[in-house]
Amino acid sequence: MTPRHTASRARQTFLLALVLAATPASRVTAQADSTRPFVRGGVYDKPYQARLLGRTAIGGYAEAHARYERVDGATDEMGFVAKRFNLFTSTRVSDFVRMAAELEFEEGGEEVKLEYAAIDLRIHAALTIRGGMLLSPLGRFNLSHDSPLNEFTDRPLVSTEVLGVALSEPGFGVLGQAAIGRQGRVTWEAYLTNGFHDGLVANSAEGTRIPLGRGNIEDQNASPAVVGRLAWSPRVGMELGISGHHGAWNAFTVEGTPVDERRDLTISVLDGELSVAGIRVSGEAALARIDIPPGLAGTYASRQAGWFLDLARDFGAGLIPTAPGSLFTLKARIDAIDLDTEAVGHHVRQAGLGINFRPTSESVVKLDFVRGWRFDPFNNRSDFARLLASFATYF
């Protein structure tokens, strides 16, 4: 069996597994709670959108940082960043068709990116067809990463360094949900996408870097990748998700001519969130396997992994008389990535603490302290610390 056939079979198996897993059991009904967003904070769960001509909503969010970072006792950064200015829109074209888009201006406009632009054709609660520039359902954080929602200023390491959040790619696929009991539900998404390109190796000066393989706007190998997520939520505020990506990252065939061996990237992600005693707990763990050419073995990683765990506890609701909707949040995060699980070093660990103030639910002022340890490929340790202040607000 050729590698291509093997990969094709793997994709079929993956899709079949998703469909089977999502098949309603006896207690499952197809109609989920229609008021509950598909993903909290996701594409169609944005606040502060203004309506134009009745059916098009617009909005966005902005984010600014003040950053102080020290590495091994020396100041590495003390400055300000106009981090993001994102515009989004959504349109309910009809009862069956809707469309949403998000345009991102990052780092003071140095990077401009169409992060999301997809059309949904809703056939049933259990079946919506989606196509366009998608947010890959690879971990929950990628689906809901707006800065005003995040408790911490910086995104988790596993999200930025392993998964490449925000990860959006052109693709087509399906999504849907089904209720389980009175409060529970299952949601699923599965898409065929262009996948990653060889920039994850060719453009990377730091060994394998999956985020550098993003932006495969034009297919390069005539072999779609498959990405999907299955999430089970027994009640609001509690969810467990499993997701994965599998696809070739190299141009192993050009116009039908095989020019290389097929090399796959497989990413598995486990995510979860719950609320216990007023403490919101969320986290993700990811494992990536990258089929690296033999000539690069030892310098480019073939396995990467990472995880984070966030804890947040609200307090002081309405404490400020002039802002009755205000809220404080204490937060903590532990965070680790291993950029080459087969190397003795090449990993990063960090822990963060902080406090947030939300004058209203749409805006947040964040104060973070992060202390971390970076290990080079020889396992030499470098210490870093960050003090961050940031504003983020929907508008």
């Binding site: 006792g73 190796v201 060719a202 007023g278 000539g295 310098t299 002081g316 404490l319 020889f378 210490d383």
Partner: protein
């Protein structure tokens, strides 16, 4: 207004955090390691311009290449820093394989003199041909290269005794090397005539610039203004030539000079503090004859960089070639050095070797020795007598000598 219960319960946390910050601010915000414990510190006494050059060179030394920036087509690793741990020694995973002798034209048609065991996509990595003798060489430390460069040739020659006229059994000699013509005449160690080789395991290189340019090409597959032609696997077909799509030269001379300046301005780590045992060890180091080759200190001469001029360089090496016996022989001549000869390895920095190799110590040219004692006992040839004297020491004296060497 009363404090909400929830808030009251948590109000101690920010106070505790503030106290914690006050108590251990330097630890929380990281602290600077002692520069004497680091291998990548600049020399003391540099001017602001020299420090700026150091910083720029540091960035280039750490710069990792990718296929998109010129890496390959064949290579050993992706950056200077990828081989030299924190500017110190490498480990066996970074070892280079050298093959061929001048009689065999360095086995160039098989990929010699250095095997590039990695390749970018589309290119073919080299492999050591079956049945060929291999000289394995670990990356040496690169710190204080400028101090070594600033030692006058006459100072090195003065310690040479190629015919052992003093009858001490030690006959160190100079590896006379003709510098390649592309080394600018302005660089120390350049010129059309043979010069004193002082860099490399066999002192086969005369200048930091030559060492740097050849490492760019041989180790990383990066062409420069000095060596603008790619290093290719001679056993790979022409189709593989298309793999490297970056025009040559891939880095300009200015980048090379930045790295050369960085290496030139690196300071050596400080030795450990004096103790009674180390004082005894130092005496035994001299008494056993170790110091005859591992000369404790050489002196630099005049130099345009003030921090390099007229400095005592406590490197514990005479920078000369010595017959090291059968156990260490690689049977591979390099320039004027024969297959049993090696340049006396400087001992400075041994104190920090385990700190930068994840607790390990890979000693000797190929890293086979894991302790200083093991390395000493592998000495032979001209060092046989010293080795035997060391082996005959009492356990306490032996420990003192090892403590002294390990504290350099």
């Amino acid at each position: 207004m009363g404090m909400p219960n929830l808030f009251r319960g948590l109000s101690g946390i920010p106070v505790g955090l503030a106290l914690l910050l006050q108590a251990g601010c330097s630890d929380l915000l990281t602290s600077t390691p002692d520069s004497g414990d680091q291998l990548d510190s600049p020399l003391e006494g540099l001017s602001a311009t020299e420090r700026a050059a150091f910083v720029r060179g540091d960035e280039e030394f750490a710069r990792r290449f990718s296929p998109a920036t010129g890496l390959g087509p064949i290579f050993n690793d992706v950056s200077c820093a990828a081989c030299h741990s924190a500017d110190g020694r490498g480990r066996p995973g970074n070892a280079l394989s050298r093959i061929g002798t001048p009689d065999e034209d360095m086995l160039r048609s098989w990929g010699g003199p250095q095997i590039q065991n990695r390749a970018i996509p589309g290119a073919l990595a080299e492999v050591v041909p079956a049945g060929v003798h291999v000289s394995v060489r670990l990356p040496p430390p690169v710190f204080a290269a400028g101090l070594i460069e600033a030692i006058p040739e006459a100072t090195i020659i003065a310690n040479a005794d190629p015919d052992d006229l003093d009858g001490d059994g030690i006959s160190g000699r100079v590896n006379w090397v003709v510098p390649p013509p592309w080394v600018p005449g302005t660089e120390p160690g350049a010129g059309p005539e043979p010069r004193v080789g002082r860099f490399g395991r066999k002192a086969q290189t005369t200048s930091i610039l030559q060492q740097t340019v050849e490492a760019y090409l041989q180790d990383m597959g990066i062409t420069t203004d000095f060596l603008p032609d790619e290093n290719r696997n001679p056993l790979a077909g022409h189709a593989h030539d298309a793999a490297d799509r970056i025009g040559d030269p891939e880095v300009p001379a200015g980048t090379v000079f930045a790295v050369v300046n960085y290496l030139r301005l690196l300071a050596p780590p400080a030795p450990g503090g004096p103790t009674a045992a180390r004082a005894l060890g130092e005496q035994l180091f001299a008494a056993t004859g170790c110091a005859a080759c591992h000369v404790p200190q050489l002196q630099t001469g005049p130099h345009p960089i003030g921090a390099l001029a007229h400095q005592g360089v406590t490197l514990y090496s005479d920078l000369l070639l010595h017959d090291m016996g059968d156990a260490l022989a690689d049977h591979r001549p390099d320039g004027d050095a024969d297959g049993r000869e090696w340049r006396t390895t400087p001992l400075w920095g041994l104190r920090m070797i385990r700190a930068y190799l994840n607790g390990d110590a890979f000693l000797l040219h190929d890293g086979r020795a894991r302790t200083i004692e093991e390395a000493i006992l592998l000495h032979g040839g001209e060092a046989q007598r010293s080795r035997d004297l060391f082996a005959g020491l009492s356990p306490a004296d032996r420990a003192a000598l090892l403590d002294f060497v390990g504290s350099r």
